[in-house]
């Protein structure tokens, strides 16, 4: 028994080393760098006190929330449709939908440019229809489209698995009690996939908060936090600010997710 305990502890060692090397040490270093600038520890609050940084933070939060909401809405509809309908070409459609899983953010950025850039598909289409030139690739809308496109496959994979796992008898039971389609959706289906909505929503939100590749390709004129950090770090060599902003980005994302989880947890318990 004791030797088994000792053995178990021995196995914990690699885990500890891993956490130390890849998580704790860089984190500590980041904290150190952030506090070593000309402003000292006040640099941590720069994200809130510097009006430019604060505006960027709010814009990033708004964008991420919108991306999360849109991705979950589209994902839920598509997942429900795909789980409940069998048709020719369904497997092909499913694999096409999950194809962008492997695309780097930069490629997603290019695709948005191809769609909504100056020479893009929408541009020529709207010109052809005489409705002016539609170009939104380099705005928040372009970033929004790119992030939704980027997150959708991830959300979809999780939601489809959750919908498949739902017991169809639950919805049939609700209907037998007189519930309309909308009531079944509200009272049975959505609560049933709530954990998956939470999990995939959290991933979509965190990804949008920190995504860089797509922003780098598109965001020549818009400020999101990841871009600001990049600029401070490489162009201005302002390591302290970059590090402080990074920590703030991490903490705020973590806080929003924790709050949402808490809120949704009590919401589920109080439902019905």
């Amino acid at each position: 028994m004791h030797s088994a305990d000792r053995l178990a502890r021995l196995f914990l060692l690699p885990l500890f080393l891993f956490v130390a090397a890849f998580f704790l040490l860089p984190m500590v270093r980041l904290v150190g760098v952030a506090g070593s600038g000309p402003n000292g520890l006040a640099e941590y609050l720069a994200i809130l006190t510097n009006p430019r940084h604060l505006a960027t933070l709010l814009a990033t939060l708004a964008l991420s929330a919108a991306v999360t909401a849109a991705t979950l809405a589209i994902g839920t509809v598509v997942a429900l449709f795909l789980a409940r309908n069998r048709f020719v070409g369904r497997p092909l459609l499913v694999s096409l939908l999950t194809l962008p899983l492997a695309f780097p953010g930069v490629v997603v950025g290019f695709m948005v440019i191809l769609l909504a850039g100056r020479q893009g598909l929408l541009s020529s289409l709207s010109m052809g229809l005489g409705m002016g030139r539609w170009v939104f690739a380099y705005s928040m809308a372009g970033l929004f489209a790119g992030y939704v496109y980027f997150s959708l496959p991830r959300v979809l994979v999780t939601l489809m698995a959750a919908v498949e796992k739902l017991d169809p008898a639950l919805e049939e039971a609700a209907r037998s009690l007189g519930a309309s389609r909308a009531q079944v959706m509200r009272d049975v289906t959505l609560p049933g996939i709530a954990p998956a909505l939470m999990a995939s929503g959290a991933i979509a939100f965190a990804t949008a908060m920190g995504a860089f590749g797509t922003a780098f390709t598109l965001a020549t004129r818009i400020d999101v936090l990841a871009m600001t950090i990049y600029t401070e770090f490489t162009l201005n060599a302002n390591f302290a600010t970059a590090a402080a902003l990074s920590i703030a980005l991490g903490l705020i994302t973590w806080m929003v997710l924790a709050l949402t989880r808490n809120f949704a947890g009590s919401g589920v318990a109080a439902a019905g």
């Binding site: 639950l170 037998s176 007189g178 519930a179 309309s180 609560p191 019905g272």
Partner: protein, 352 residues
Amino acid sequence: MNRGAAITVASCGKTFADGTRALSPLDLDVRAGETLVLLGPSGCGKTTLLRLIAGLEAPDAGGHIRFDGADVTALPIEKRNVGMVFQSYALFPNMSVIDNVAYGLRVRGMAQAARRAQAAGVLEMMRIGALAQRRIDQLSGGQRQRVALARALAVEPRVILLDEPLTALDAALREHLRGEIDALLKRLAITAIYVTHDQAEALALGDRIVVMRNGAIAQVGTPRDVYFRPADDFVADFVGVTNRLTGTLKNGRFETAAGVVPLPQDLVPPAAPSGPGAVRLLFRPEAARLASPADTPLVFEVVQVEFQGARQKVTLKDPAGARILVEAPADGLLVPGAAVGLILDPARISLA
């Protein structure tokens, strides 16, 4: 509660999208207020027939379902006012017990206080009032079963449909709940259709039993009809142990190797005898009485005796070597090799 509906199933067949023929077109009348049991082996179409009646599946073209004479074939389940109890119970995990039971009232727009009061009444009737605030994952299997039944009954449906509601429980609990359900259904006088593959459950619960086989109805009758006068070999074997004697019909008597059996007037000979001139007589182990060979024209030889306390199981063979099993009180001492007479209860024999 309101009176149950009478249900008519008229030439309803069901072919699934993948080509599976689950039901051949069949007719069935369910009387208002009766408990009708659908009995048959797994895959014979019981659930499919139940789902057609519920409105969860539509019958093939030409089929019609009527409730109290009104055609409901095109009505989806949410408009039919049927209560359903699923094998998996299908309780809503995100709601408490009382909210589960009140759900049907909630979607009907009843105010919270009123619907909780009514749901609490149903829970009380099922003697699970103390569980009202529990979460579903805090309930045992038997408690879940009761909650599922309470939820289905809370909306005072015209019909209650139960699909193997006890199959997921252990044997002792199953028997106990069977008694409860039986008493409840009788008291409410609601029309109930109960699916099972367990013959003991069917015999105990059914006012009438529909024995199904390969998507068709093999026999409809009271438990006694089905048990003692099975329509064919399939029904006889599915509903219990059956003895068979081969012989011929002569002057209202059945003649076999072991002797003769007088037949009651009302016993109909089979439409299609199993062989030229040959008829089979079917009876249950407990439909026969042992007697002295001098007292009856039907005599067998004792092969084996299994003493079981109050009763004994006796294996007999006739001069042609055919074996039968008889259950008798354990009073007389029987030894293998001895001759013994047999008297069959005329009300409990059938011909095939």
